[in-house]
Symmetry: C2
Subunit: 91 residues, 2 copies
Amino acid sequence: MYVILVYDICKEGNGQKRWNRVFKLCKQNLVHIQKSVFEGEISDSDLFKLEGSIEKEIDKSTDSVIIFKSRNERWLDKNVIGLQQDDPFMI
Amino acid sequence: MYVILVYDICKEGNGQKRWNRVFKLCKQNLVHIQKSVFEGEISDSDLFKLEGSIEKEIDKSTDSVIIFKSRNERWLDKNVIGLQQDDPFMI
């Protein structure tokens, strides 16, 4: 399965810690393409585990994680305007 | 065509102005679902115009806009963990 994962973590309180942990979880499974955006091929079981881990990390009252799933990367085209994901400037 | 648009605009210098203008352009064409994330159905011609307008607004050396295009929304499933897009908390 091909997924696009975007998250918005509220930085108040221990938000930066939550942001870092969600970033780390995503980086272990997907490709980092923009500040809070990841994409990549992932198995159903790994995605299930990732979603479970993220669910434990975030504060559901302030944070948002959205995962788009496509059965096949071929059904998705991608257009990048500006910085490419491998630009060193990309954090 | 169904698209997911994510952007990361560098806030230095007149970055906030660029961010606001890109936000406005996207809001006129798509649904706002997360801080810098939009999705929605859009015609080829409207998408072409939106991409052109965004291209004029951003600083390509610091900003990044990624547009995922799917011929059909049916090929995309979506899972939201935490805040839903219509939560008033969502900016």
